[in-house]
Symmetry: none
Subunit: 193 residues, 4 copies
DNA sequence: TATGAATGAGGATTCATTCAT
DNA sequence: AATGAATGAATCCTCATTCAT
């Protein structure tokens, strides 16, 4: 993730306290966006972080930049999940694991769902470096499945990510705790050739 | 839908021109929400309807009430689609038709997707009379499928509507035109027992 | 002056109350800018006008637009002064009158002086229709003087306006009341061939 | 100029590095104000000086104090110009030289023009010690001219400085390079008895 | 009854100044 | 003594809602 702090040259690392604050802001923002969605207010985020608004703006030039950064972090986490899944020997198990965990993350995050809905195409190649990693990892998961013949041939990366998004959205409307499990099953069953 | 206009006694029907205005407002609002999502502005809606803002507020006490009314109308339309589907002799064909058409409607309507995402639980019983009809019709579609053994037993009304929402959301992110078709296939395949 | 009110088509005149408010806003803004310069606050202007901030924004999309409008009005007034001066039979008397009155107006208006200083080139042709009138009128004043041989040949419109601005600025720093008169005399003497 | 640094007793001179920093800050501030006017930002000045903002505040308690100091320096320079001019044998030549050079300096300095315009009365006696020197030198220039009968009798120090300011402001709006020369000529002609 | 002008709380962002490192 | 991160009051502007015409 590139450093967006305007006062920082790419080289010089942030002072210890600044780095701490930056993280507190990101954590607070994530919480706020998870709970209140994208229109959580900067003041609220600042309050949660125990910081003045100005401090947020020292680290992120714009509310949008803050959201972007969170998305970027989520992409990084998601790529890591995919990497983890790749360790499983069975191709289908690996894809299942990734789908479940990815959808679950997104489901729990209202801001992320909104960002995804508003901006669309979050996973597009070229959005950022973390994204490239994600695309690559998920591509491998899909390829393995295709080779093993356990996945519909017409489901590529774009289709898979849209479906994962759909699963997350369905899950976010789950009433009963078991429902989520059912939704994932439905999706996975539907993905078989 | 009950008349929400405050100046109206429940009994007295609206004057002809008032009824006309009401419909123009609803049409304009639907267009606006479809295009711009939930944060379309009241002024914009008024302009589209060829009406002053004040007139909107004469018919709907609140922006939220206007959105609710559109949702209600959408539910009515959706119930009609379900009723139509019920005419098909084959249980599975009927359900498929309903799922595809319902998801498509929602997919095309940004405001509806947002409303659904923000408010959640749009289909809850008790939201309004139209909803009761919808619940009943879709219930029949599902029952027929269950009886015919062509639908997973653990998918009831709540599950089905969440999945339909998921399908709509996935479809709204479709890049290629064919993708939508694929998503519907995946869902339908997944719904088989 | 073109109508800048966004909600208005050029044709339809403002409602009586709106026109009244528009004028009150302009008056209040002029006062505020005269006293506090260009960074008078919108809230302050609204308060002076006895109006909410929103009302200002209904009439002028931007603080800058409000300032521009005031400048435009000042240009109109200035053009009128020039027109009046043109009625005098003596070429030099006419120019003198115009210089004195124009400089005096500007001198009294801190906001105008700032606008002029910040933006520069207020009198440039093409800024607005009123400006064209002004350029034309002052051009005539100067031509008459040149023909009569009572004005330095190297002082054209651009030079004259810069000098008038200089006079206004000098005058705005006058300590004694008579000083202003002296400054004008100096300028006028200097302008003779 | 008295030392304004709060940590300094009036007596103790600044350490060598502190003095160096102080000058770098002043130079940077002058550049910034010349280019961007009075609303150049403290951070920008600090950056130009290669110094942290905090360091500026160690030397100057307030942005205003920094501006004041620059004005004071400008006054010193101006006094020096006047002193130089006094060396010329001809009274009128001396005054002309001083007027031209002084106006030119001010013309080139946007911040100075603003400061002058905003604060007014920069040359008032009593503003600072440098000012006294300036008042004295310019007083001599004027006296010599009065004695030689080459200057309007009603132009004293206050009038002369206001006019010089006016000339600077006029010049700052000069389009053509030659215009400036014309303005100075006009002023000088006007100053003759 | 319809209109659209007015309202004003609210929200993002800036920047002089303070203060912990 | 220097640094630059943190602060938060201040400021412009938006938009749902109210109300005079």
């Amino acid at each position: 993730m590139p450093d967006r702090t305007p006062q920082q040259d790419a080289e010089r690392p942030l002072r210890a306290d600044a780095r701490r604050n930056r993280q507190r802001i990101l954590d607070a923002a994530r919480d706020a966006f998870v709970e209140e969605g994208t229109d959580a207010q900067m003041e609220d985020i600042a309050r949660r972080a125990g910081v003045g608004v100005g401090t947020i703006y020292r680290h992120f030039p714009t509310k949008r930049a803050l959201v972007d950064e969170l998305v970027e972090q989520w992409l990084a986490g998601n790529a890591a999940v995919a990497a983890e899944a790749l360790e499983l020997p069975d191709a289908w198990e690996a894809l299942s694991l990734y789908l479940r965990r990815g959808a679950e993350d997104m489901m729990q995050n209202r801001g992320l769902r909104q960002a995804y809905g508003d901006l669309g195409k979050l996973f597009e190649e070229g959005v950022g470096p973390k994204n490239r990693e994600l695309v690559s990892n998920v591509g491998k998961l899909l390829d393995r499945c295709h080779e093993a013949g356990v996945l519909r041939a017409d489901v590529g990366f774009a289709e898979f990510r849209a479906l994962m998004y759909g699963l997350a959205m369905a899950s976010s409307n789950a009433d009963t705790p078991g429902a989520q499990q059912i939704y994932a099953d439905v999706f996975l069953r539907g993905l078989r050739p």
